[in-house]
């Protein structure tokens, strides 16, 4: 096997993402500490402490959904079309699915303790569940293999289509469940019912979840870019090795055929490489 043509970037870290990671970790630690230090409330006991993470998670899942829609839009818009927007939309949807699932899980745990059931057909719960289904559908579509441009196009359209339905879904589930819980302690607006400490922990929770989301998404985008590069590289190396077999005496193995055109990702375009072999 030949050595790689150019040094391969194996890390997805950069000074900026390192700083972001540290900030995310510190704020997450602060959220945990503040959350655990909260006094148990009279009605909800220990479960009231979930207020430190649950609203933040829900917020981050909405942000993720919005970024996916925005990335899709920027890719579809011819003047801003760039591979990075597609990768951003995909990465954001993946991280968003995790956050949405966590929102549902923490909400369920809280609901079991306070409402007595794991699930109620509350408007916000239902909306979150539908959003999770939309994200999973979007991710399933992304995973269908194909030409990168084609995958990007259909993903972008699916991203927009999925985000279009969210406002309609919102009204549908709100009206559908006319008996839904009023806005409770899990709400950003300060009110007399919410202790200042709860509000503070919750605010730090919002910050922490936003930072964690940003950090994970950033790394996922870089990871996706490396994956794309690796996909092309394997093929190039296999072709180079095959060539080396046929011409052992005259020429040492050349990893990149002369006809190869470097693509923006640093790899050799497949079609050109294959064309030069035949």
């Amino acid at each position: 096997m030949t050595a790689p043509v150019q040094p391969v970037r194996t890390s997805t870290a950069s000074p900026l993402s390192f700083a972001l990671g540290v900030a995310a970790l510190v704020s997450l630690g602060a959220t945990v500490a503040l959350g655990l230090a909260l006094p148990p409330s009279v009605e909800q006991q220990d479960y009231s402490r979930l207020v430190a993470i649950h609203p933040g998670l829900a917020w981050a899942s909405y942000v993720a959904f919005g970024i996916t829609a925005l990335g899709s839009l920027l890719w579809l818009w011819p003047r801003t079309r760039h591979e990075r927007w597609d990768l951003l939309a995909g990465a954001s949807a993946e991280v968003g699915a995790v956050f949405t699932a966590l929102t549902l899980a923490t909400g369920s745990i809280w609901g079991r303790a306070v409402w007595g059931v794991w699930w109620v057909w509350d408007a916000r719960l239902t909306l979150s569940a539908l959003m999770l289904a939309l994200l999973l559908g979007y991710l399933a579509l992304r995973r269908v293999p194909g030409d990168p441009e084609t995958v990007a196009r259909r993903s972008a359209v699916a991203g927009i289509l999925a985000s279009l339905v969210v406002p309609v879904n919102h009204f549908a589930v709100e009206w559908w469940n006319t008996l839904h819980q009023g806005r409770s302690a899990l709400q950003l607006t300060p009110s007399k019912s919410v202790d200042g400490r709860f509000l503070f922990a919750m605010t730090i929770g919002f910050l922490a979840m936003t930072l964690v989301y940003a950090w994970l998404t950033l790394h996922r985008v870089r990871m996706a870019r490396l994956e794309q590069g690796a996909a092309g590289k394997d093929l190039d190396q296999a072709i180079a090795a095959r060539r080396a077999e046929t011409q052992p005496a005259t020429r040492p193995a050349t990893p990149v055929p002369s006809g190869g055109v470097p693509s923006p990702g640093g790899t050799t375009l497949r079609s050109t490489t294959l064309g030069s072999t035949s």
Binding site: A133, T150, L161, V168, A172, V173, W176
Partner: protein, 224 residues
């Protein structure tokens, strides 16, 4: 655009009229779903009457998946996507035509299912006007969103499994709104939100997906 839409709708409907797949397979399937609901719930008519509106629309949604898959399948054979692009037809017209063809099939299906609900579940239809309006608004929304997702998943090998996952969460508000709007007409029960509001929601849904389809169908055709 309108001329192209008529051409495409006419072509799709002629294919359906001649092949009778919709009539011989999709409609019986939907009626079968109604029967299965009765098995699953109760022979007791009370439960069925109360749930009739929801069951009716779930049956419509399931049949929509089949109709949409079939409509997209017509355009995904050998070289047909290219032929469609080379035909010079306006993409917006193709979208409207295909959606219209699906909508016509769905309306026929809904009428059959409506009779099925009356006969099998013993429902008394009290408000035919509101029911008809709900059917029209919901059907346009289902046909528009279904046609979009149909072409999106149309060329893929996994389309049979992927389409339900993509389409069903999107049409969930149609199910909610159409069920609530037709509930009063089908069961005679009072409802909290006036049917008019639900109709508005259905109309908004239909308008959003129609508008998006008119704008974006060309992009989607390039892909398949």
């Amino acid at each position: 655009m309108w001329h192209d839409a008529l051409l495409v709708a006419g072509k799709d409907l002629r294919i359906e009229a001649r092949s009778r797949v919709g009539l011989n397979q999709v409609v019986p399937f939907a009626v079968l779903v109604l029967v299965l609901f009765a098995f699953a719930l109760d022979p007791d008519q009370d439960v069925l009457v109360k749930a009739a509106a929801g069951l009716f629309w779930v049956a419509v949604l399931l049949a929509t998946l089949l109709a949409v898959q079939r409509s997209a399948g017509l355009e995904s054979g050998d070289g047909i996507p290219d032929a469609l692009r080379l035909s010079g037809l306006d993409p917006a017209g193709i979208f409207l035509g295909k959606a219209a063809a699906v909508a016509v099939q769905l309306v026929v299906l809904e009428i059959v299912l409506g009779v099925g609900v009356v006969v099998l579940y013993g429902v008394d239809i009290s408000g035919i006007g509101i029911l008809a309006a709900t059917m029209v608004a919901a059907t346009i929304g289902l046909a528009a969103s279904g046609t979009l997702y149909g072409v999106l998943a149309g060329g893929l090998r996994v389309r049979e499994t992927l389409l339900p996952l993509l389409l069903l969460p999107v049409v969930a508000p149609v199910l909610i709104a159409a069920t609530r709007a037709s509930e009063a007409a089908l069961t005679g029960l009072s409802v909290d939100v006036a049917p008019g509001d639900w109709l508005g929601l259905l109309a908004a849904f239909a308008a959003i997906y129609l508008a998006f389809g008119v704008v974006a169908y060309g992009t989607l055709l390039e892909d398949s």
